[in-house]
Amino acid sequence: MNEIIELQLFPSSCNHCSEIVSEEYVYCTYCGFPHNGTVKDLALYEKRIRDKDRTNEEAKRKIKNARNTLYVMSAITFLFGLFSFSGELGSALFTISTIQSIIYLVLAYWSTQKPLISLLLGLFLYLTIIIVSAVSDPGTIVRGIIFKVIIIAFLAKGIYSASSIKKISYAY
């Protein structure tokens, strides 16, 4: 009977986050702190924290770059509409460019709160514009190809960075 009591595992509080953690675990399942670990485990934990901070900083930088890309695209699209105003179908081009510019602007601003979905929609809007332009003039698909690749790369990096640091829902 005594042996059974000795083997029973009692939960205790994590030294780092105070979350209740079963004694069978070396690491806290909530914050990853090695509350039953050795000095080596603690060093490993600290290294993980440093790596994670570095990854998060890098991800935030990429999200910021993607956001700035959307702001730049918003400005360029608006200027394009403005310069097209005097030509044939000028008012139509101006209206379409202004709508497009506003959408980029809203998505860029929105990316401060919801970076993943806003950057994803920004990328899709840009890809759609490329295809629509190719329909009216197939030559546009290769025109400024380097510029297009750079924009897509910035947005894609921002999207995957936002995905990697997005808060995870633990509801299963």
Binding site: A92, L120, Y172
Partner: protein, 255 residues
């Protein structure tokens, strides 16, 4: 629903949701990020495929004369693409085809909403096209005049097929994948945005986006595709019948 979570590093199983493996300290989040990135990749591939398909359809339409066979092949290709992507998530999508038990009020609104939306769209689109392009004559019905029985074919291609496959694509496959990436609200906004984008008109964007928000909201609230399909069908049917009515009036006027 409880799902067993496995640590990728030491393969220990956890019944309860955890952030870190209790045995090796590895982050369980990274597994979740990988799962989310799989859904993200699917969404991106789906949308790019859809864009390339639209480009291909445009080029085919430009080079080949209008024919029933061409129309049917394009629709078949689109249906195959949508069903192909849906197979990645067929179990979850199948559940959305259950007919929901809803109150009479909800069903009544399902019929009233598309009547209102088609009236707004009919006048709004005509007004915008007239203001911007000086032309408000585009007619869905008239693009099927080359066929022997244009009205039934126009109804088939405009009112029946798009609601079935667009709803499956956007409120079915895309909705389910986006749900794995972002919150429910953002999923509704995202699917509405993409639904509006693939109609390839920034003018139409102004009404298709709110229309998509409504369909997304209904899909989210009642967990069914049927309300979206019915609303989409009635909306498109009214537009095509309106075009038909205008065409008949024009013929009578010319006679």
């Amino acid at each position: 629903m409880h799902t067993n979570i496995e640590c990728k590093q030491c393969h220990k199983q956890f019944v309860k949701a955890v952030n870190f493996c209790g045995f090796c300290g590895a982050s369980i989040q990274s597994t979740k990020v990988e799962k989310r990135n799989i859904a993200l990749n699917l969404v991106i591939v789906f949308f790019i495929t859809f864009l390339l398909f639209a480009l291909a359809v445009y080029l085919i339409n430009e080079r080949l004369e209008s024919s029933l066979v061409k129309e049917l092949v394009i629709e078949l290709a689109f249906a195959s693409l949508v069903i192909g992507f849906s197979l990645f998530d067929w179990k979850a999508i199948l559940k959305t085809y259950k007919v929901p038990k809803l109150s009479g009020n909800i069903w009544a609104w399902t019929f009233i909403i598309p009547i209102l939306s088609s009236i707004v769209v009919y006048y709004f689109v005509n007004a915008m096209n007239t203001i911007l392009f000086g032309d408000s004559d585009y007619s869905y019905f008239e693009s099927y005049l080359y066929l022997d029985n244009p009205l039934p074919w126009a109804i088939f291609f405009v009112a029946i097929l798009p609601p079935i496959f667009e709803e499956l694509a956007f409120r079915g496959f895309l909705f389910n994948q986006l749900q794995k990436i972002v919150s429910e609200r953002m999923t509704i906004v995202g699917t509405a945005f993409l639904f509006a984008l693939v109609h390839f008109s920034l003018i139409s964007f102004l009404w298709i986006f709110p229309f998509g928000l409504l369909l997304g909201y209904l899909r989210s609230k009642y967990k069914t595709l049927w309300l979206g399909i019915i609303i989409h069908f009635i909306h498109n049917l009214i537009i095509i019948l309106w075009d038909y009515y205008d065409y008949q009036n024009l013929i009578h006027f010319l006679e």
